[in-house]
Symmetry: C2
């Protein structure tokens, strides 16, 4: 494939007009592109029409067109001289509740130029979506939230372009993947009904929108493709994640798990996709244990306990003195406690096995993970029985959701070909630890595939080929979203999953406790 003609850029030579062939400039161009793209529907904007006649004559009827696609319709976004070397850049955005990540890529080669991220400025209104949606109900609230995110994006765009020696005008296409609420706030759509039964978004398919209409400072002709959603609780970020994982292209049934406060789960293959979301509990994010925090510099993300001497070894992000522990570290820790016999199958501390690490604060038992002398905070980093209980509820919820969704399609968790784990959690988690505590099913370790920022990954793909745009629509239309029915069966599963690794150890044949107890 000629780079100049890959993806969205097509160089076409038009027949020169004559008295016998006096078709108008735009119609001549569209006719050539229709043949090239084998389509019947190509649109062009007034802005571009106004520049077209000079442009096609100056380039002697051979022009380079930047096209984008919205469902069945192609749109001519820009037309330049065929020899012009101006950068044609796209921006993929993962529009997170907490963090927003942008990625510039070269639209003619598909190559990534640079990534950048910033804290969602809406955090100043509220850390969680619920607070922001309530704030949006106030007079001017939605406008304020919308302005915060748009200004934040515009600052990032300006900075990113400056650092890459590009102009913001070089950005012609954007793709935006966010959860349904963030997408609403980004578009200035009223999010009020998203959180009220029966949880109705304003739109499931925002489609292609002019960047200027959104207030985004890119090229005036730029278009933004906003990922569709399946509902209030299953947003474009997850559809981008599915696209990125390839779940929807697999012959074999696989599962994708995205864990935050909610665990979002998709199971399926190229023929079908079933999704559900459930509260996984907050143990896996910051805020619960006094030392629990999100992944970041100085946060413990890996822990091991030596079976020989019960010595703790840990790894922190950036190798800094430990300041806290994130979800994946917590899981490692719980797994080590369990395998070493420091906690029993109910997750309760076994004082005889904890030794000098056991301490008591305010009448509650704690295990000292990092003594004050080694910590980055100057105080002991500890884990309490309550923290462990909370983690166990989360891991039980996680496993129950997986068991329920697999059971609903008539397969066992162990029959899953691939287990995709999205996000930061997926990047840092040690599957062996998660299996040890019965959080994830006992699959061969190489079945686990961390995806990293799959939302950004999917948004990037959307800027690489129109085939992916079609796939996005197909994913959206294929997904069956099921409400988790919290009935007696679910509760039974949940109770069984609250043990380590489970009441039925045959589900976890690989888990071997090494405590000599």
């Amino acid at each position: 494939m000629n780079n100049n003609n890959s993806g969205w850029l097509k160089t076409v030579s038009l027949p020169s007009p004559t008295l016998q062939n006096n078709t108008a400039d735009a119609d001549r161009l569209i006719r050539a592109l229709k043949t090239r793209l084998n389509t019947d529907a190509i649109d062009i904007d007034l802005d571009l029409l106004r520049r077209l006649p000079d442009l096609i004559r100056k380039s002697n009827y051979t022009v380079r067109c930047l096209l984008f696609k919205d469902r069945q319709r192609w749109l001519i976004v820009n037309v330049t001289h065929s020899q012009e070397n101006n950068s044609i850049v796209g921006l993929a955005v993962d529009l997170g509740t907490t963090k927003v990540v942008g990625r510039l890529l070269n639209l003619s080669t598909g190559q990534i130029i640079a990534d950048s991220s910033f804290d969602n400025p809406q955090l100043s209104i509220g850390p969680d979506i619920l607070t922001r949606i309530h704030f949006a109900d106030q007079e001017g609230g939605l406008e304020r939230l919308n302005k915060l995110i748009i200004q934040g994006l515009n600052s990032m765009i300006a900075e990113l372009c400056r650092s890459c020696k590009l102009a913001t005008d070089d950005i012609y296409l954007l793709s935006i993947a966010g959860n349904t609420a963030m997408t609403h706030l980004f578009m200035g759509l009223n999010p009020h009904w998203l959180i009220r039964e029966p949880y109705i978004p304003v739109t499931n398919r925002p489609g292609l929108v002019k960047a200027v209409e959104l207030g985004i400072k890119a090229n005036p002709l730029a278009r933004a493709m906003i990922f569709p959603n399946v509902g209030s609780y299953f947003g474009g970020d997850l559809i981008a994640g599915i696209l990125f994982s390839g779940l929807n292209r697999n012959e074999d049934t696989a599962i994708l798990v995205d864990v935050g406060t909610n665990a979002e789960v998709v199971i399926g293959n190229k023929k079908w996709l079933i999704a559900c979301a459930g509260a996984a509990g907050p143990a896996l994010e910051g805020g619960v244990t006094r030392m629990g925090m999100m992944a970041g510099p100085g946060v413990i993300n890996k822990v091991a306990i030596d079976p020989a001497d019960y010595q703790f070894t840990f790894q922190t992000i950036g190798g800094l003195p430990p300041k806290g522990i994130c979800g994946s570290g917590l899981i490692d820790l719980a797994a080590s406690f369990f395998l070493s016999g420091m906690i029993d199958i109910r997750g309760k501390l076994v004082p005889s096995q904890c030794g000098r690490r056991l301490t008591e604060k305010d009448g509650i038992q704690h295990i000292i993970v990092v003594p004050a002398s080694e910590s980055g905070t100057g105080t002991d980093l500890t884990i309490s029985q309550a923290d462990l209980d909370s983690l166990i509820r989360s891991k039980a919820a996680m496993y129950t959701i997986i068991a329920t969704i697999t059971s609903s399609v008539g397969i066992a968790p162990k029959d899953l070909a691939t287990f995709y784990v999205a996000g930061t959690f997926g990047t840092y988690i040690n599957p062996e630890s998660a299996i040890s505590i019965g959080m994830l099913p006992d699959l061969p370790q190489d079945s686990y595939k961390p995806l990293g920022n799959s939302s950004l990954g999917g948004a990037t793909m959307a800027l690489r080929s129109y085939e992916f745009l079609e796939e996005i629509d197909n994913i959206r239309d294929t997904i069956t979203y099921i409400e988790l029915n919290v009935n007696q069966e679910f509760m039974n599963r949940f109770s069984a999953a609250k043990f380590l690794p489970h009441t039925d150890p045959t589900l976890f044949p690989s888990v071997k406790v090494w405590s000599k107890q």
Copy 2:
């Protein structure tokens, strides 16, 4: 048909959302409309999305939608409460080089509310299109021309709405029919190449454009449908005229003639349409005879000569004292001169038959049409031999064009079922006179159908039904535009047509000279 659901307005009841049916607001609405309109492509704008959730809940899921169509795609222009009685108004515009006419109509009933017109403010740049196109080449010239017409339209819209007790915001749809050059100036498109071989417009199909993008002050959601063109010399005004005449719906072959400085001619039926344009000479508009002028108050538009006493009787527009004579009056006059023997079959004055009416000014023979004592100018209104020669060239050109185009499709002028005559010319012309001088073919008088402002008529129809929008596209795609080949055969025809009524009197059996000569 329920008025509320006629044309562009559709009232739909949406199923209320439930946990089992949690489709988004916009998608729910679009789904209902897709079923109703039996289509697969319905779009909605961001502006409207932002207002949608409140709107559909306040109207309890029964809403009135205003839709418009652009080729295969429907667009939701506005959504209101089903019981809302706000006026929904459309504006049809005949975008003339000299005069612009606007017409407000009620989009729910299709009824005309009011018409208004104004002189095209671009007249201050130049009376003709050519001057304006050259002006557009100057720095800022196109912007100035564009601003003039847009401001003129906005003033008319404001005034028209005020006089009808409507708000400009009540206007949601516009349809604009103008010649190709005026359409370019209206859209701010470069007209430079329209007048340079091979005469290429910027676009043949402007389609649907947001009124705000054009600078038009109507409802912010309003859309303008701009008539397509076949080329530089066959514009949207003529396509509107064809639509209005119904030429394209007839079984029998008919002809449509629009006479200005150019004569534009379309011949065809429901199966085919062939068009051409030729210089008809300026005799039929103002500027040639010293008394020749455009139709307007005090202008003679009908003349007769009494065979008994050779007395002239005339009729002026508005019944005012005569100030000049327009094309239709000139034709009447020439016919009367000829039938009474005052001019011969070459169109030369016959002094013996002219009597006291003959006079000489600056060495040239004139006939006094209105003596100074009866005229509105205080001077004699006269016609010179030169004026008559000029008229005869025009009438010969007209007949030659008709004879050439009918011959090109293998029929004789007398076989035409209907002869549509557009514009002011068509309104005032007396077919009997035009036949007498051999300008129009000798068809039964009731074959001649004056159309009045057919451009405005077609623009009005475009706002009444999407079936007409489809017809407009079909007309455009069906027309074969032929260049009049001025070869020897054409010149022979022209020479023969320079006689009154023709060298071959069998072509005009109804024409009987009553002069006793």
